[in-house]
């Protein structure tokens, strides 16, 4: 069971390394989107400090989401997905591997640069810590839930945009608790409650999402 999961993770990470662009781009998308807001809204530091958690989280949502269409699409287009579905182990395990690899490539780096971006918005050290923790805790859920959306829209032409339509509403709880944790820290209320809710969401969705995605993939392959 673990052998197949690690085999999938290994392959996907190797592909990501080959493409390079993948890792770097999701990250830079995050950085650029976050930097766009002050441009549109204006430079007042007070205003920006209030915005920071929301903006960072929305950008994290979008960056994760943007890489979703390709989660299965490449494998689908070149026929690998068929082969995976025909392999003699449950497809859910394969998807678990792919979700983990997706998080390693697109979620983890976000958590690592988030503090730097937070500084641009003049956040305090405490808030930065909670922000990083929240993104670390929340992004696996984004990958998991996103996998369902990616699987459901697989092979549909409007895919890229359609997936956002399906997935973003499901991301809202993560957004609310994630941004809430930072907000609570900024206002001095303490973000632990939010963080533990976030952990619960992540736990549930990483466990459950791969199997839902596997079911969706089988339908897409008919």
């Amino acid at each position: 069971m673990f052998r197949i999961i690690t085999a999938v993770i290994g392959r996907d990470l190797r592909l990501a390394m080959r493409r390079q662009a993948d890792i770097v781009s999701a990250l830079f998308f995050f950085v650029i989107v976050v930097s766009l807001f002050p441009l549109g809204i204006g430079p007042e530091p007070d205003l920006l400090r209030k915005l920071a958690p929301g903006v960072l989280w929305v950008a994290a949502l979008l960056a994760t989401m943007l890489s979703l269409p390709r989660l299965f699409a490449d494998d689908h287009r070149d026929g690998t997905l068929e082969q995976l579905a025909l392999a003699p182990h449950p497809l859910g395990l394969v998807v678990t591997g792919k979700v983990i690899a997706h998080w390693l490539v697109s979620g983890l780096p976000l958590a690592l640069v988030a503090p730097v971006l937070g500084i641009q918005f003049d956040l305090s050290a405490d808030a930065l810590l909670v922000l990083t923790g929240a993104i670390l805790l929340g992004t696996p859920a984004l990958s998991g839930i996103g996998a369902i959306g990616a699987a459901l829209t697989l092979g549909l032409r409007g895919g890229g945009v359609l997936v956002s339509l399906l997935v973003l509403p499901l991301y809202i709880p993560v957004l609310i608790f994630g941004a809430g944790a930072v907000d609570a820290t900024v206002t001095g209320l303490g973000g632990e409650g939010h963080l533990s809710l976030l952990a619960a969401i992540t736990f549930a969705s990483v466990g459950f999402a791969p199997w839902a995605s596997a079911a969706a993939l089988k339908i897409a392959l008919e």
């Binding site: 830079f28 430079p43 920006l48 500084i119």
Partner: protein
């Protein structure tokens, strides 16, 4: 056909490679000389600034790095134009060799600016027009590098990257004139050929440091260009002869 052949030869890697090899030590030496002189003037001789105290001494790297970040981009765009117009192999290599140094310069400009901003403005970062456009410049460098890295066919990578450089070059005047067009926190241009508001030694220190950065950039870019050149031309006769000749 004939004059194009000449141009091609002039810009041919086979002649350029050894030439660059000979030029690098000279540029390194110049960079060291200018750097030492600039540091001596700027750090040891120049008096303090009555407004900013000693913190102003960051200017001796901040301004050269900022200048170089813009200048390198212009040079890359120049090579790109040559490459697209005359289809020379060398131009793409030069542009690719310059990009990382340009990105580093943009990064240094941001870094030193941020370190300067904290004591002067009380914040690491403000969303001011010049600062923002410098950040965009960094993104343009990274975009260029990401694009050329994503294309495996070198000829295609050069052409596509060149096109991007030419499109992105509109940003340079925006950075340069941003202080004039929007009134911002960031300082306006104070180097002026006719009258200067700066102390003489300060000005000279800055100019010398700028020369140092310039020479340094040329030296590093040439080094990188040589590697790229060898890698890409490994199947040509000159590269083979060179690889066979050079001691292990």
């Amino acid at each position: 056909m004939k004059d194009r052949f000449n141009l091609y030869r002039f810009a041919s890697p086979a002649t350029f490679y050894p030439l660059a090899g000979k030029m690098i030590p000279w540029f390194v030496a110049l960079a060291v000389v200018f750097g030492l002189a600039g540091l001596y003037l700027g750090m040891l001789v120049a008096p303090t600034d009555f407004q900013q105290g000693e913190g102003y001494r960051i200017i001796f790297i901040h301004v050269p790095a900022s200048w170089m970040s813009m200048f390198i981009y212009l040079v890359m765009a120049f090579w790109a134009a040559i490459g697209l117009a005359f289809n020379t192999r060398l131009s793409g290599m030069m542009a690719q060799a310059l990009a990382p140094t340009g990105a580093l310069m943009a990064f240094l400009s941001l870094w030193t600016g941020a370190l300067w901003g904290k004591p002067m403005w009380g914040t690491w970062w403000v969303w001011d027009a010049r600062l923002t456009s410098e950040l965009i410049l960094l993104f343009l460098y990274i975009g260029y590098m990401a694009l050329t890295a994503a294309i495996d066919d070198q000829r295609r990578a050069d052409k596509a990257g060149g096109l991007l450089l030419l499109v992105g070059v509109v940003n340079i005047p925006i950075i340069y004139f941003s202080v004039k067009w929007w009134n911002t926190l960031h300082q306006g241009s104070s180097v002026n050929l006719t009258k200067s508001s700066m102390a003489e030694t300060m000005l000279w220190g800055m100019l010398l440091m700028a020369l140092c950065f310039w020479m340094y950039s040329i030296a590093v870019a040439l080094m990188r260009a040589r590697t790229i050149m060898l890698e890409r031309e490994r199947h040509t006769d000159w590269a083979k002869a060179l690889l066979a000749g050079e001691g292990a």
